[in-house]
Symmetry: C2
Subunit: 180 residues, 2 copies
């Protein structure tokens, strides 16, 4: 995992991949799978929708920190598995054979097997809408990884794998934020 400039961290999220979110409740680490996420600012700020129905929410509200880990297609069955059991009765790092790596600025861990990790602080919880607003404070990318394709949840139990990439940098030059 090599440090990634914070000004580039939003590019890990903007395409809408399914992500893993690690939390720490004061005693133990947990992981959840979510695809209800949104970039809100290049600084970067992210929103996720979660609430009482989710076991990780209590830890997120208490500790006010998390790590967004970006998995790739080779990890899909772990991602689906993590999303279909609960941290209330499962140690997900052990069950899914994932390696927790200490983060630098937050208590929840990075996930070593993922393509990228973003350390985040909770800066607000919009209770009315179950929106948690996160500010990234550090980001990392595994630059040695061969499989870099992320997956996108359709929501009906199917997933779309990243296909080919199209470059429109010239057309968009005037609109791109600095440092990307």
């Amino acid at each position: 995992m090599r440090p990634l400039k914070l000004s580039k961290a939003f590019t890990l999220m903007e395409s809408g991949p399914v992500v893993l979110v690690t939390t720490h409740d004061g005693e133990k680490d947990n992981i959840m799978t979510i695809s209800w996420t949104m970039v809100m600012d290049f600084t970067p700020v992210f929103a996720i929708t979660t609430g009482e129905w989710n076991h990780s929410f209590a830890a997120l509200r208490k500790n006010r920190e998390c790590v967004i880990a970006i998995p790739t297609v080779d990890l899909l069955d772990k991602v689906v598995g993590i999303g279909t059991c609960s941290g209330a009765d499962t140690d997900k790092f052990a069950r899914f054979k994932l390696t927790a790596v200490p983060a630098r600025l937050v208590r929840p861990p990075l996930i070593k097997e993922c393509l990228a990790n973003i350390e985040c602080k909770v800066i607000d919880i919009v209770k009315k809408h179950n929106i948690v607003v996160l500010e990234a404070v550090a980001a990392y990318r595994d630059t040695a990884r061969k499989e870099t394709r992320t997956v996108h949840a359709v929501g009906d139990g199917t997933f779309i794998v990243d296909g080919r990439k199209i470059d429109r940098k010239k057309m968009m030059a005037a609109k791109l934020p600095p440092g990307v």
Copy 2:
């Protein structure tokens, strides 16, 4: 465009495609390109991040309605073009040769050339975070269209096209919402 069950509309958005959003300011229609979107509920409710910096925001705040249109990869240059000019001085439907089709329950139009369209009402604006919360009231899908691959913005001027689809419906059966 055939009507799509509202309980399936979130599946058009969950994978994180770049979308077009049409608005109407009382006089004319406009279109913006955004990828800062999030599913918030299966009912369905969506969030988008936008604000004063965006010409469409005034129309969205005034009329409190919009249509989310889902473009496919064959429309990418129109999508990028729409995102790099302003409705303040451009009739985007004319310039990008897109067909405005009257919606059923809202004033902004559907876009005929898109794969799907979702009519939405603004149900809240979270000013502090520039989040507009939308509730879908009708949805449509072009079932005759051959090209169905959507595109995902990375944010650096490149775009990822939908690749292959992976089915994990069995693994996720217990977690899928009804009607999907």
